[in-house]
């Protein structure tokens, strides 16, 4: 097991290095000059001084080695061209809100998806089942930004049952710890629900098919023969049977959640990694774009690694060799 974990960690590190290199190459090869002054009155030597401060006067291979060395040895991602802030500090502020949103969305997606899948599996091919299947397909097909905008317009602006944006209320720093946590929760539930909704349909369909499939297996028939109730068969044994596939879906969800978070953060003014990335792309803030890409890749790699490791524990058919 330890060798397996080490091997996977090594592969993850190599993959991460490849992502870093590709990201740097793509950004470096893009046309145009970073920090090109838009004001023609700025003398060339002034602009050159600024370029030298950021190391842009060096040849590209030297820039790459400096950047990679600083990242690998010191976790130093350089300074934002736009704000001058250390990039690690900027993303350190942005990462927790994104992790919170993505985590809550993951929870929402599984709660909703498994719930709907169970409902459908109880009465296969009934009207209810058909409704759940159609609804999950529709939800899967709807773009997150549209669902988000509609949710804000109806629930926040129209009905006033949720805040329209942000992560906290204005001057939320004045609140005590419990009130502050509740304040964040009040701002979190709607974006998390919207973000989770897109994948919930997929989870529902997987849950339904796994549960129906389980009922036809020997284990399912044996459980029924032992006189267990239908509810117990599906909830306990059926879900245990479906768990490995559902877990695999979690690793598939991670990149979708992260890309969805960029959209959801823009719609709900959620101050996370997606917002920071969007601002950086808009202003060609290369150090931030590179770091945000790397953070995103790292999150996906880690999620996939964790899902694989958990799978080896949950699914008796999988053995580590």
């Amino acid at each position: 097991m330890i060798r397996f974990v080490l091997r996977r960690l090594l592969a993850a590190a190599v993959l991460f290095l490849i992502v870093l290199t590709l990201a740097f190459a793509v950004v470096a090869l893009a046309p145009g000059e970073p920090l090109a002054p838009a004001d023609p009155r700025i003398p060339p030597e002034q602009a050159e001084r600024l370029r030298a401060l950021y190391g842009l006067d060096q040849p590209l291979p030297v820039q790459y080695l400096h950047w990679l060395g600083a990242v690998v040895l010191h976790w130093d991602w350089g300074q934002s061209y736009r704000t001058g802030q250390p990039v690690a500090e900027l993303l350190f502020d942005a990462l927790p809100p994104t992790l919170l949103l993505a985590g809550a969305a993951l929870l929402a997606q599984y709660l909703l998806g498994i719930g709907l899948g169970l409902i459908a599996a109880f009465r296969p091919n009934s009207r209810l089942d058909l409704s759940v299947r159609v609804a999950s397909l529709i939800v899967y097909a709807l773009p997150t930004f549209w669902v988000g905008l509609m949710a804000v317009l109806v629930l926040a602006v129209g009905l006033g049952v949720a805040p329209a944006g942000g992560m906290t209320s204005a001057a939320g720093f004045e609140l005590g710890p419990l009130a502050a946590a509740l304040d964040v929760l009040a701002h979190l539930w709607l974006p998390a629900l919207v973000l989770g909704l897109s994948m919930a349909g997929d989870i529902a369909r997987y849950t339904r098919s796994s549960l129906i499939e389980f009922q036809a297996t020997e284990a399912g028939r044996a459980a029924r023969a032992r006189g267990l109730s239908e509810t117990r068969i599906l909830l306990v044994h059926g879900l245990a049977h479906a768990a490995p596939r559902l877990l695999q879906l979690a690793s598939v969800s991670a990149p979708l959640l992260l890309s969805g978070a960029v959209v959801a953060e823009a719609v709900f003014a959620w101050p996370g990694l997606g917002t920071a990335t969007l601002l950086a792309i808009q202003s060609r803030d290369i150090p931030v774009v590179l770091a945000a890409t790397a953070y995103g890749a790292a999150l996906v790699i880690v999620a996939s690694l964790v899902a694989d490791l958990l799978l080896t524990r949950l699914d008796p058919r999988i053995r580590v060799e």
Partner: protein, 533 residues
């Protein structure tokens, strides 16, 4: 059982949070505070080490005052200057020395007086190579800043010019006693350090900041203007997207939003309790025709292009009326604008006649005109990211097609297109300028600015060069008015650039607020006077 209990607890907490939030939104308004939505990033209060934006400048000016503030009276005449930290100022007879007297009552929020040494320190920082302030060129005419006594400072100039006050006045005076502790060479390495050593001279103090989310400004009790600011606290909230801020305004979570897109304006119009305020942005958007290319080399063809484009339709459709059709690089609400200058009308028939007279014919019957065997087909480029501009370009493309011209639209990254514009390596391009009130047309129309300057169209006209130079040398801008009018009329006839529109900036606010007067200089202009009725 445990998961069920945990889920119940979670559900209860969620419900409590929602109810709590809903109840909180029903509480009576606290008239001592205000919540403003605006797009900003505020990594440091030191404006010399960040890319200057209107938002950053607007916030900094609440915390750190300049010597003087430019007034927004550019409609009536050359803009005047209002004293801020300076009490009085006076030029020497030859205008090579400017003596500024500071206010006796101006103090930093840590109790230190604002002194002439602070003013000199600010100039040293602005011009120090290690600070690498991008706009250091603005100080090149200042040869020294002399401390005469604690409250008196003298600016020495190498030459007199009409912009001397603008060279001296607009940047924040920095607190020497607090910021000189860090060598200039280290200023850029840690922008956050300046928050730790921030001491304010403006109407507000920085009470709290949550990076990427909000800044909380509190009333500065030591501010020298009596009874100002009128609000105890202003919370500035930000978002990456202005539409999200508009939504929060509609939901009642914000009291003011400083920049609303034209597309969102209709969500505000007619809403009870909200007021929409449109004001000049001192910007214009234009098409540059590369006059170095044979198809754009004659003024008659360029005038025909102006007649072919229905700019009023663009303003009505894309900008929903929140823009003005342009006709001059001197904007329609600036004092020096020629009042008799009217935009070229939309007249496709007249355009066709002029094009035919200029030798353009569709000889092969493919719907595109030709001259000397070359079809009138070109690339119309712009910067990526401006959705309204792209929409307008599609309308321009259709208008040009109607008179037999094939414009192929392309979007480029900012850093990819700008070098091409500066090097005159393009066919035609749509871009925009944000301008100050100096009325200096040298960077955009003087033949000196063709190579590497913003004279993208490569336009060269000796009379225009002479007029630009004449205006620049007059110490009294009003004396150059006739030359400015003549200049505008020549550019109108020659059409090296087609000014498309002058966008308006839109702000929306709760109508219970009074004295909210954002302007082109600052979305938070006169913030210290804002108050609830």
């Amino acid at each position: 059982m445990i998961p069920v209990a945990a889920m119940r607890l979670l559900a209860a907490a969620g419900l409590a949070a929602i109810l709590g939030w809903a109840c909180a939104s029903d509480t009576p308004r606290d008239t001592t505070r205000l919540t403003v939505g605006m797009r900003f990033e505020y990594p440091t209060p030191n404006e010399l080490i960040v890319q200057q934006t209107l938002g950053h400048k607007a916030i900094t000016s609440q915390l750190l005052l300049p010597l003087m503030n430019e007034e927004s009276d550019f409609r009536e005449g050359p803009p005047s200057w209002k004293p801020a930290l300076a009490e009085t100022w006076e030029f020497s007879e030859d205008r090579l020395v400017l003596t500024v007297r500071l206010r006796a009552e101006a103090v930093w929020s840590d109790g230190h007086p604002v002194t002439a040494s602070d003013v000199r320190f600010t100039w040293q920082a602005q011009t120090d190579p290690d600070v690498a302030w991008l706009y250091a060129y603005a100080k090149e005419a200042i040869t020294d800043v002399e401390v005469v006594d604690e409250r008196t400072v003298r600016f020495h100039f190498s030459r007199a010019s009409p912009t001397q006050l603008a060279d001296v006045a607009p940047e924040a005076v920095l607190p020497r006693h607090a910021w000189a502790q860090r060598p200039f060479a280290e200023w850029r390495s840690d922008p956050g350090w300046f928050f730790e050593r921030l001491t304010e001279s403006g109407p507000f103090r920085l009470e709290n900041r949550t990076p990427g989310r909000e800044l909380v400004l509190g009333r500065n009790p030591d501010y020298f203007e009596a009874d100002l600011p009128r609000l105890e606290r202003v919370v500035l909230r930000t978002a990456a997207d202005s539409a999200a801020l508009t939504t929060q305004l509609l939901a009642g979570e914000l009291d003011v939003v400083t920049a609303i897109g034209a597309a969102d304006a209709q969500r505000i119009e007619g809403r009870s309790g909200l007021r929409l305020h449109a004001y000049s942005s001192r910007q214009y958007t234009f098409v540059s025709w590369n006059t170095g290319q044979p198809r754009f080399e004659d003024a008659a063809t360029r005038r025909a292009l102006a007649l072919a484009v229905d700019r009023q339709a663009i303003v009505d459709t894309v900008w929903r009326g929140y823009a003005r059709v342009g006709s001059s690089p001197i904007l329609s609400d600036v004092w020096a604008r020629d009042p008799e200058l009217e935009p070229w009308p939309h007249d496709p028939e007249a355009a066709r006649t002029i094009l035919a007279a200029a030798g353009w014919r569709d000889l092969d019957g493919d719907g595109v005109l030709e001259r000397n065997g070359e079809p009138f087909r070109f690339e119309l480029a712009t910067f990526a990211g401006a959705a309204a501009r792209w929409d307008a370009m599609q309308m321009i493309q259709a208008d040009l097609r109607a008179v037999g011209i094939d414009a192929q639209l392309r979007r480029f990254d900012q850093n990819a297109l700008l070098p091409r514009l500066l090097g005159n390596d393009f066919d035609a391009a749509v871009s925009g300028f944000a301008i100050d009130t100096s009325l200096d047309l040298r960077p955009t129309f003087h033949s000196d600015s063709i190579d590497g300057g913003h004279n993208y169209a490569a336009y060269a006209n000796p009379e225009v060069d002479a007029l630009i130079e004449s205006v620049a040398t007059r110490l009294d801008p009003l004396a150059g008015l006739e030359d400015l009018h003549r200049l505008q009329r020549i550019l109108h006839e020659d059409q090296p650039m087609l000014v498309l529109w002058e966008p308006l900036t839109l702000a929306a606010f709760n109508e219970e607020l009074e004295s909210v007067e954002p302007n082109a200089l600052s979305p938070l202009a006169n913030l210290q006077e804002w108050a609830w009725r």
